[in-house]
Amino acid sequence: MRKVALLTENLGVKIGGKEILRNLNIELPERRILAVMGPSGSGKSTLLRAVNRLLDTVPSCEVSGRVVIHGVDAYSSDPYKVRRLTGMVFQVPNPFPNMSIYDNVAIGPKLNGLVKDRRELDDLVRWALERAMLWDEVRERLKDPPHKLSGGQQQRLCLARALALRPKLLLLDEPTANVDPINAAKIEEALRSLVETQEISIIFVTHTPHQAMRISDYVAFLYMGELVEFGLTQEIALNPKHELTRRFLKGEV
């Protein structure tokens, strides 16, 4: 029996009185990739932000239900701790422009006191960059500012930044939406290899069904704030239970 990486129970989100997410029940085992798919505006980004409590910063936002990450009840513990457990990569690459490539990766471990000395930090930065499949391209220019990298490289840098926290659960919000196909393939490959070799689980948000099917072990299909279907990717690919899912997979929604 695998441990549970993420559990949501009747998760609901209201912003300014408007219901954005309703009654979400998801259970993701450890070391698996969950793809969250759905048309734009269906609440995918909101789901990720409910998991790592970034929604705390949105005024007039109410979250109901439960989120449990590796046994930690997110909404009854410290938000900083929750975010430390869960790295995040955003839709548009956003490395910090005022920091070098190295410092972008090193900042998370530094903030959270993950390393004892410079050597450990160097090792962790290298490890994260290797896991993000970026090390070979940047090893000679770690002191450069990130804007010298291509968009796809910047996104892999952001992946490395999140990985350097050694998160249990990695959240990715359409990480390949603004990236060329070669870089997108590299990111997908990096993610697959992560769950195969590390103690990490991944939630991958995408609006393209193809990518969801290609990369994931589990799929959640969100539509207008509701979880239409959730299950093993193979089963849903072959035999979706809902007409809506079938149509979304065919590209009709």
Partner: protein
């Protein structure tokens, strides 16, 4: 506030949807634009040319001596040294900027991260109001309220406790001093620096804020990283704040003590170039070289002002370019 508004216009002009170049409009505005430039040039030329007389007479002694001795008796008795006012100008404005920076940062943090929206509105209005008050009011308030308070509750105790520290080595007499002037100036430039920093703070895109939070930063770390994202704007606010402080006249003249002193002790009365000019200009016609020496002081101010403002504006521009 004026600088903020002018800066705000720059991107909108550049990104305008109108044709970039409309010849008729351009030509019709050209005279007005050139007038401003011409006035600035004329001002610089006049200041430089009137200073010329004292510069050629006293040379570098104008800046290295602090004896200020107007005399009608004869040229050999005359001495004009601007060292004390120059020193006072630099000390008071650096003190002011150094005190105003942490306070401006705290008010930015309070307004952006802690205050509820209504309080934020109120506070914001208050700060704009403070920025627009006639500066002489700050001087009057300084004389009535701040100087006695500082003398009894800060200067006297510090001098008694740590008399061997050069900064506190002299006994505060009236209380009018370099420190008092620095503090009045600090209070005057806080609204200005606050607005510049807050503009930049507000322009940091949401995505960086989320990235910082997603790394597990707590409130304090979050603010520190936000500030590092707007470092050029903070440096710009310091430089422009220094520019303001070094050119302020009336408020300083009321609280600085107006005496030719070059002392490391910040409780001692001093002088600044603007307050020197304000105090002595009316009688400067009666003494040889005096007016020219005051103009030389003006020239020093002009150079200081141009240096602070241009470097400040360059940093500001850099800050603006960072986030489109």
């Amino acid at each position: 506030m004026r600088i903020v508004r002018v800066m705000a216009l720059i991107p909108s002009i550049r990104g305008s949807l109108l044709p970039r170049y409309d010849k008729g409009f351009f030509l019709s505005l050209l005279p007005f634009a050139s007038i401003i430039f011409a006035i600035f040039l004329a001002l610089a030329c006049i200041v430089a040319s009137v200073s010329q007389q004292s510069i050629s007479k006293f040379g570098v002694r104008l800046l290295t001596e602090s004896v200020w001795r107007p005399s009608e008796a004869g040229e050999e008795f005359v001495s004009y040294g601007l060292l004390a006012p120059l020193y006072g100008t630099l000390v008071t404005s650096v003190t002011a900027a150094a005190m105003a920076l942490p306070l401006s940062l705290s008010t930015v943090y309070f307004m952006e991260e802690l205050a509820p929206p209504k309080l934020r509105e109120l506070f914001s209005t208050l700060i704009d109001l403070m920025a627009g008050l006639p500066t002489v009011l700050y001087g009057l308030w300084g004389v009535e309220v701040m100087i006695p308070f500082l003398r009894d509750n800060l200067m006297a105790p510090l001098h008694e406790l740590l008399p061997w520290v050069p900064l506190f080595s002299c006994e505060p007499l009236s209380g009018a001093s370099l420190l008092s002037a620095g503090m009045v100036l600090a209070i005057m430039i806080i609204p200005f620096m606050h607005s510049l920093i807050r503009d930049a703070y507000g322009s940091v895109p949401m995505t960086y804020r989320e990235a910082i939070l997603s790394l597990g930063a707590n409130r304090y770390e979050y603010f520190k990283m936000m500030l590092s994202l707007i470092k050029p704007a903070i440096i710009a606010s310091l430089l422009l704040g220094l520019g303001r402080a070094s050119s302020e006249t009336v408020a300083v003249a009321l609280v600085v003590g107006n005496s030719f002193n070059v002392s490391p002790c910040i409780f001692s009365p001093g002088y600044t170039i603007p307050s020197l000019i304000a105090n002595q200009f009316s009688e400067s016609n009666f003494y040889p070289y005096m007016q020219s020496a005051l103009y030389a002081g003006g020239l020093v101010l002009l150079i200081l002002g141009v240096v602070f403002s241009t470097t400040g504006l360059i940093m500001m521009r850099k800050a603006r370019e960072m986030y489109g």
